[in-house]
């Protein structure tokens, strides 16, 4: 159920508090709170204040440009979009199975980017809240404060991120916006020197990843009840899993479970995702609201990302991450762990898994293979889905007879969490802000709830043509001459 705090009655009579810009998140967003009598919170909304529109402007481009072109929508995890688009274009060129070298290089790239993205989020963006407290002085509650107080932790974060970026550079040519994946495969294998270069630092990174999980656990256990309850919402969760139910980031079937862990769907072929998922739009947000079709718009929203993935998978294929998963699962007492703050814990278990998976891959001679690409019969539709650092990422393209994109649909990871982020801030608003005189420290709790999801707001706003709009024509004297209103249905009315 969506919260009653989504839309207040008579909003014009309420006091408006705006948190803008949201800090220590990717992209630009704001939160609006409406306060009534006795400072009761009557409405809480997360707004994304930028618009990207990739779904529209890649129409008319050749499909083989997609993996490189579409990744430009993000600078933090462009590899996710690079690989999701590459998987979609694999389908288009009829490459039903990649060569071992191509798949393993892509996996290596993906683990590298997940490692660096998670390290960035935990160390740079969230560790100030977790180490110093949500109400720490604002001038100290940032990465500079971490560098001053705990230089070893800050250095670890910087170096882990650097290592992940180096994996991306070696596999795609550049640390940001490379060109490694192409339709049907990749454009280069690794040399012996490149493999040895990456092997040199993996043991250290694996060790740091273990330390990081222990650190987040220590912080979490110190105030266990508070962290379990803060911004908690009980939701369904969706993620990708392997055929054997194990944790998967690159390729597998989709699994969704309800808030009690009961199966909604499992191992579904992601190319049929439109049979299971729908999106709705709301007139106050540029970001769409996806939901599980079978459960309807009101009940069907869900969470994705580390919390969903670690909850949903049956096991990790790597031993250290699996041991951590078992401890994590014990928090839920047989049920899914619904704590929003547990996102941090799950994220670092994933980081550990990525480090283990990278270590395994770097021993695999297939990385140095020469068979890079496959192809088949050209198809007119391609769908690519991967687990990006922030959650399940969908790319769907249709091309015309000349190979030009005629339709594109993106469900970006953060979009999946749209309703959940809104509900989490409403929970925080209700629990900690209601009836209070608002201070920076209290408002930071709203941001802490959002940060737990690691949203990438710039990635998430692509729907065009569905947004409501009001166009006023005013003469030189300030008199309203004409007004057009565009509805979410696309209908345009003259309202003067």
């Amino acid at each position: 159920m969506t919260s009653a705090l989504e839309t207040a009655e008579n909003p014009e009579s309420l006091k408006r508090i705006v948190i803008e810009p949201l800090t220590r998140v990717e992209g630009h967003g704001k939160v609006t709170l409406l306060q009534g009598k006795n400072r009761n919170i009557r409405q809480a909304r997360l707004h994304i204040t930028e618009f990207r529109g990739f779904e529209k402007f890649i129409q008319g481009r050749p499909y083989w440009e997609l993996p490189v072109l579409v990744q430009r929508l993000c600078g933090i995890c462009p590899v996710s979009h690079h690989l999701a688009a590459a998987k979609a274009t694999d389908m288009i060129v009829g490459a039903t199975e990649l060569t071992p070298t191509a798949e393993k290089i892509r996996r290596l790239m993906h683990y590298g980017q997940t490692l660096q993205s998670h390290a960035l989020h935990f160390f740079h963006l969230c560790s100030p809240d977790l180490l110093f407290g949500f109400d720490d002085e604002v001038r100290h509650r940032n990465i500079v404060g971490v560098i001053e107080d705990s230089p070893e932790i800050a250095t670890q974060g910087v170096m882990m991120r650097k290592y992940g970026q180096e994996i991306i550079r070696v596999t795609s040519g550049k640390r940001v916006h490379g060109t490694g994946a192409i339709p049907g495969g990749i454009n280069k294998g690794l040399s012996r020197e490149e493999v040895d270069y990456l092997r040199k630092d993996i043991a250290q990174n694996l060790s740091w990843a273990q330390t990081a999980v222990e650190l987040v656990k220590k912080v979490f256990y110190e105030e266990l009840d508070y962290h379990m309850d803060f911004a908690r919402i009980d939701t369904s969760m969706m993620s990708m899993v392997n055929d054997d139910g194990s944790f998967e980031l690159y390729h597998g079937g989709l699994r969704a479970r309800d808030s009690l862990g009961k199966e909604i769907f499992d191992h579904i072929d992601y190319t049929n995702y439109t049979e299971y998922l729908r999106e709705s739009v709301k007139d106050w947000s540029y970001m769409k609201f996806p939901f599980i079709k079978a459960r309807g718009e009101e009940e069907g929203w869900y969470r994705v990302g580390p919390l969903a993935r670690v909850n949903n998978c049956d096991f990790f294929s790597t031993p250290l991450a699996e041991a951590q998963r078992q401890e994590f699962k014990s928090l839920g007492d047989g049920l899914p762990v619904q704590s929003t703050m547990a996102y941090h814990w799950a994220r670092l278990i994933e980081t550990l898994h990525c480090a283990e998976a990278i270590a395994e891959l770097l021993e695999d001679p297939d990385l140095m293979g020469k068979d890079l690409r496959t192809k088949g019969e050209l198809q007119s539709v391609g769908t690519g889905v991967i687990e990006a650092p922030r959650g399940t990422l969908f790319h769907h393209y249709e091309i015309d007879g000349d190979g030009i994109v005629s339709k594109a649909s993106l469900i970006v990871s953060t979009t999946n969490n749209n309703q959940a982020m809104n509900e989490s801030i409403r929970k925080v608003a209700n629990q900690y802000l209601d009836g209070k005189r608002l201070s920076e420290a209290l408002l930071n709790q709203v941001e802490v709830a959002i940060r737990a999801y690691d949203p990438c707001l710039s990635c998430a706003t692509h729907a065009i043509g569905k947004m409501p709009m009001e166009l006023n024509l005013v003469d030189a004297g300030g008199q309203l001459v004409d007004r057009l209103e565009k509805r979410t249905t696309g209908q345009i009315d003259r309202t003067i």
């Binding site: 440009e65 280069k188 050209l378 000349d402 190979g403």
Partner: protein, 250 residues
């Protein structure tokens, strides 16, 4: 040095043969003069104006000006460099040259010349013209956005391929490349992917279809050495066999 058969380029004596242009002699002597529309295999065009040098105080296109004994040629002064940069600035904003996502990036002569001249970003107001992509050909795609109207494909198609597939139509800012086919689309023309006209494009306007970003970053034509050392795109290009043909899509 026999001054009857040499001219001076930036203080160096450059020998020339009868019929040489300044460009011909300079390139043979290993002296790079920036250019886009010049290709030694074809008649000079003199249209891009990047190769303009100062000859005895006058600005002249080096690709069309016959070499003469005793000429004093300035190819590297600040004034010449600034003139070339302005021309490049205009070329970049007149079309839609989005290097960061273009599959020709790293192997594009326009980009390489810009780096050579020292132009690192556009400073003029972009025109953002609305130009189409012609993907009607089964093996080749034409990007009007990237075409700089150098005329090399026109000359190659006419002089080598003997097909006259391409022509420049219109005047001034309305000039555009057109195709000799019944419906005006590339797919209806006689162009084949092995044609010389496909090889000579210095930018990403004429590209093989279904292919892009094949060469890894770091191994592209101009990734490690400047164009003054590497030379033109056309000197290195070879026909690529189609990865997939549209025919399989029909």
């Amino acid at each position: 040095m026999n001054t009857e058969n040499t001219f001076r380029l930036d203080g160096k004596d450059i020998p020339f043969k009868k019929g040489d242009t300044i460009m011909d002699a300079a390139l043979r002597a290993g002296e790079y003069i920036p250019h886009l529309c010049h290709n030694p295999e074809f008649k000079p065009h003199g249209s891009c104006r990047l190769c303009v040098v100062d000859v005895n105080g006058r600005h002249q296109a080096s690709c069309t000006l016959p070499a003469e004994a005793g000429m004093e040629v300035d190819n590297s002064s600040d004034a010449i460099r600034q003139r070339r940069e302005l021309l490049l600035q205009m070329l970049f904003v007149e079309g839609n040259h989005t290097c960061p996502a273009c599959e020709k990036s790293g192997a594009c002569q326009l980009q390489a010349v810009a780096y050579y001249i020292g132009m690192l970003s556009p400073h003029l107001t972009h025109f953002f013209p609305k130009r189409s992509i012609d993907a009607s050909h089964p093996d080749i795609v034409f990007y009007h956005n990237r075409c700089i109207l150098c005329g090399l494909c026109v000359r190659a198609s006419e002089q080598v391929d003997r097909k006259s597939v391409f022509a420049i139509s219109g005047r001034g800012i309305d000039s555009k490349l057109v195709f000799n086919s019944p419906d005006g689309k590339l797919g209806g023309s006689e162009l084949e992917f092995t044609d010389k006209a496909v090889e000579v494009c210095p930018v990403g306007a004429i590209m093989p279809k279904h292919l892009g970003y094949e060469t890894p970053v770091g191994q592209r034509l101009y990734d490690t050495k400047p164009i003054s050392v590497v030379g033109d795109v056309a000197a290195h290009s070879k026909p690529e066999k189609p990865f997939i043909s549209d025919k399989s899509h029909e």
